[in-house]
């Protein structure tokens, strides 16, 4: 017994000792070999009705020896001479073009591409611009898809830098590395281990290699992966892909009554909320959509100062602010809104009269507003609508009114060539239904002035939204940049134009957008979401989320099952600007009102700090959400080949990772393996031999056991 207990104690002690040792020296072999790269984002796979686009690695990941490709000699060396294939090409952002990617891919000697992209270094930005979108974005699903005079951007190529990189199916993984420290360390390892000699002679092993993993689950097209996701033959059903989609944000100035007449007239003021880029989590969208969102929100705030004139008048037209989502992917949001209107379910609020395109008297859309073309903003209109006399004179009146208001608000604005069609815009979906007098205001006369349309490089500094170097975060938050001043003037113009359209009266001077609010919104959307404004408009729960934000929120529509931060923030800002405070309500009571009162929506926000804590406010407004999920996923038995609606889905994946390590020479690898095999064989032999001679070895203990028994 004593022996037994002392044995257990000994065991325990050994166990404890092992545990202690392992805490001290616990470095797994894996970690000694690999270094994970944390600052990477991957290109992944998306699908539509006919194609798969984007990137995928093999299931176990792709591995290759690193080679830095910075000029033509490097390309040649990699594609023709390098003896250690397969290679992984390191490539600077300036060289990341479709041609170069295809050259590397088609050489068959490259297993993956890593783009070096640093936030701090502007010199790495391609000078001529970079846009992964098409040169004629969204044309197939727009107003002019089948129009012999205007299709395929015959009159004007809107996005000439766009080489449609987004819509290629790559057979290798492409990652972007944005962390400057990691870029530096990879480059220094490269110098040490991989860089070929001056004579172009390859280096000997050990060489630095990289492994990229982003194997995609979906394949072929959306129909296939959606069908496979819905099959329930398996015990654990798999999701192969998810439809892209989110929510549109809308708000009306008046609360539309249930039994309004069919002639209830509204003015749409719209913009789009989303963008895309080749890489996951890199969706800055400064000019592509933020300028539009901010301008429209500030216009709502400005208009709210005189909104009682509109609300209290019986003859005034209602104004609907609309922020469309998923527009970058073949107009998901706007085509869904049209679909909802066709089915009498717009707006979603059941207490309101249903609206459709016949109720819309005017449509003003703001597009990109961050730049100026010939130092002006430009008003575009649809040449097809203009063929109708009445509509043409309405549009002309509208344009002249906006232009005269713009002069007053110090915004240089002019009318674009009437022979040109509308640039890509959500209003195109409405014009398919009816000739509405509509305009699109944007910062380009013909081709985009934005050289980084829908790309990861469409960052704040490309629209000069930068701060003097010596400011701290609070000062930056309050700093009114030139861009903010310009946008505020644009907002004033829009707000006053909307007032004039609605009431027919001259807009009062008090309708003026606040440059400070514009500056705050630009800072929060583009620089740092952990800002005072966002903290004020979210509730306690969302504020916890906000505290974890590491960089500006992405402006990518994402999959339909997750709700975007940007959507919620836009809705809450709109509610704050147009709505009113309900005093003396608790959080629960505020939320409860949503169940009983169908006319308004109630949102609880933390509000400003009073004393030393945020008391919270209840906001009553008409701000609401409508689905921005393509009708293709709603219509039963949708004909996928019809090309009527957007069919974009995003593939699911299990893991995305990139890690670097040193590969030894084949000689060393073979030696290690052979030694291992020899050791295995020898030990097998030894065991066999011992087994044969068991009697000799254990004779004594047997007799010992027997004698114990007898005892």
């Amino acid at each position: 017994m004593a022996i037994y207990s002392s044995l257990t104690r000994l065991n325990l002690e050994i166990l404890v000792a092992i545990c202690l040792l392992s805490t001290v020296l616990c470095v797994r072999t894996k970690e000694k070999i690999y270094v994970q790269l944390s600052g990477t984002s991957a290109c992944f796979r998306r699908l539509n009705a006919t194609h798969q686009v984007g990137c995928s690695s093999a299931i176990g990941g792709n591995v290759g020896v690193i080679h830095l490709v910075s000029d033509e000699t490097d390309f040649h060396w990699l594609i023709k001479n390098g003896p250690h294939e397969p290679y992984m090409a390191l490539i600077y952002a300036v060289n990341f073009t479709l041609d170069n990617v295809l050259r590397l891919q088609n050489s068959g000697r490259v297993n993956g591409i890593m783009v070096l992209d640093s936030d701090n270094d502007t010199s790495l930005m391609p000078e001529d611009g970079f846009s992964p979108d098409e040169s004629c974005p969204g044309d197939q699903y727009g107003l002019y898809a089948d129009d012999p005079d205007y299709k395929n951007c015959q009159k004007t190529t809107w996005n000439p830098v766009g080489k449609a990189m987004m819509f290629q199916d790559y057979s290798l993984p492409i990652f972007v590395l944005t962390n400057q420290t990691e870029i530096n360390s990879i480059l220094s390892f490269y110098e040490t281990f991989n860089k070929p000699g001056v004579d172009g002679k390859a280096r000997d092993y050990p060489l630095l290699a990289i492994e990229m993993k982003d194997a995609m689950d979906a394949a072929k097209d959306s129909q296939t992966c959606i069908r496979r996701s819905n099959l329930v033959v398996n015990l654990n059903p798999l999701k192969y892909c998810d439809p892209l989609g989110d929510q549109n944000v809308i708000a009306t100035v008046k609360a539309i009554p249930r039994n309004a007449s069919n002639s209830y007239s509204v003015i749409f003021a719209a913009t789009r909320m989303d963008t895309f880029s080749l890489f996951e989590n890199e969706y800055p969208s400064a000019d592509s959509s933020v300028t539009g969102i901010v301008a429209l929100l500030a216009a709502a705030e400005a208009l709210a100062k005189s909104q009682d004139d509109i609300i209290n008048s019986h003859t005034s037209k209602d104004i609907v602010f609309v922020f469309f989502n998923g527009e970058a992917f073949d107009y998901i949001g706007s085509s869904r809104m049209i679909y909802d209107m066709e089915h009498n379910s717009f707006p979603p609020n059941t207490a309101a009269q249903n609206l459709n395109w016949n109720n819309i008297s005017h449509f003003i859309e703001v597009s990109q507003l961050g730049h100026r073309d010939e130092d002006k903003l430009w008003i575009h209109s649809d040449p097809i609508s203009r063929k109708n006399e009445t509509v043409r004179s309405e549009i002309d009146t509208l344009i002249n009114m906006i232009k005269s208001i713009a002069v007053d608000a110090d915004v240089p604005m002019d009318e674009a060539d009437v022979a040109n069609p509308l640039p890509p815009a959500s209003v195109q979906q409405f014009l398919k239904k009816k000739n509405i007098s509509s305009v699109v205001i944007s910062d380009h006369k013909t081709a985009y002035t934005n050289k980084f349309y829908n790309s990861r490089l469409d960052v704040a500094k490309t629209i000069n939204e930068t701060y003097p170097p010596d400011l701290n975060e609070t000062e930056r938050y309050d700093y009114i940049t030139e861009q903010a001043k310009m946008l505020a003037n644009v907002s004033t113009t829009i707000a006053r134009a909307l007032y004039n359209l609605s009431t027919g009266d001259t807009p009062p001077r008090e309708i003026e957008a606040d440059p400070q609010t514009v500056a705050h919104m630009l800072y929060c959307f583009l620089h740092n979401p952990k800002c005072e404004l966002f903290k004020q408009i979210l509730d306690a729960e969302d504020n916890k989320d906000l505290a974890n934000a590491k960089k500006p929120f992405p402006f990518y529509v994402g999959v339909d099952s997750t709700k975007n931060h940007v959507t919620k923030l836009t809705k809450n800002l709109l509610a704050l600007f147009l709505g009113r405070k309900i005093n003396g309500t608790s959080e629960d009571a505020c939320r409860k009102q949503n169940e009983t009162n169908k006319i308004y929506k109630y949102i609880w926000m933390l509000g400003p700090v009073v004393g030393n804590k945020r008391e919270g406010v209840c906001i009553e407004s008409t701000a609401d959400e409508t689905d921005a999920i393509s009708p293709a996923f709603v219509v039963p038995d949708y004909d996928w080949s019809s090309g009527k609606y957007s069919t974009w889905t995003e593939s699911s994946w299990t893991v995305i990772s990139a890690q670097i390590f040193l590969v030894p020479s084949k000689q060393l690898e073979t030696t290690i393996l052979s030694v291992g095999v020899v050791i295995l064989l020898v030990s097998c032999l030894l065991i066999w031999f011992c087994n044969q001679r068991l009697d000799i070895l254990f004779k004594k203990s047997y007799s010992y056991a027997v004698s114990m028994d007898i005892d």
Binding site: S56, I59, A215, M216, D217, A218, A219, K220, T224, R227, R228, L231, V233, N234, L238, Y240, S651
Partner: protein, 108 residues
């Protein structure tokens, strides 16, 4: 009964039982259960071909050979089907998906 007779009795009894089971499996195989034939072909191989001659062996051998032929035919059918299916899975589209239990990831 003498001991020797008794032993012979038991032996022939066993062989008769074997034949019975073999027959049952063989007939069962026609109910689209080729694995029964496979079992027959392997399990009764020694009995049919490698044991010294006895009365029932003739019949046992007959059934085993027939089971073997059946197994081979099934093997040919299944192999052909698998090859055809794997080669055409992608191009058959929806039909092939509905036939599949596990659909590979990341492939058409």
């Amino acid at each position: 009964m003498k001991k020797a007779e008794y032993v012979t009795e038991i032996l022939t009894y066993t062989e008769r039982r074997l034949l019975q089971i073999l027959r049952k499996y063989y007939l069962g195989g026609f109910a689209l259960l080729p694995f029964l034939w496979l079992v027959n072909s392997i399990w009764f191989f020694n009995e049919a071909f490698r044991k010294p001659v006895y009365t029932e062996q003739q019949q046992i051998r007959l059934y085993v050979i027939r089971s073997m032929v059946g197994t081979l035919i099934w093997l040919a059918i299944i192999t052909t089907w698998v090859v055809i299916f794997q080669l055409n899975r992608a191009s058959w589209g929806a039909t092939a998906d509905y036939m599949s239990f596990i659909i590979p990831k990341g492939m058409p």
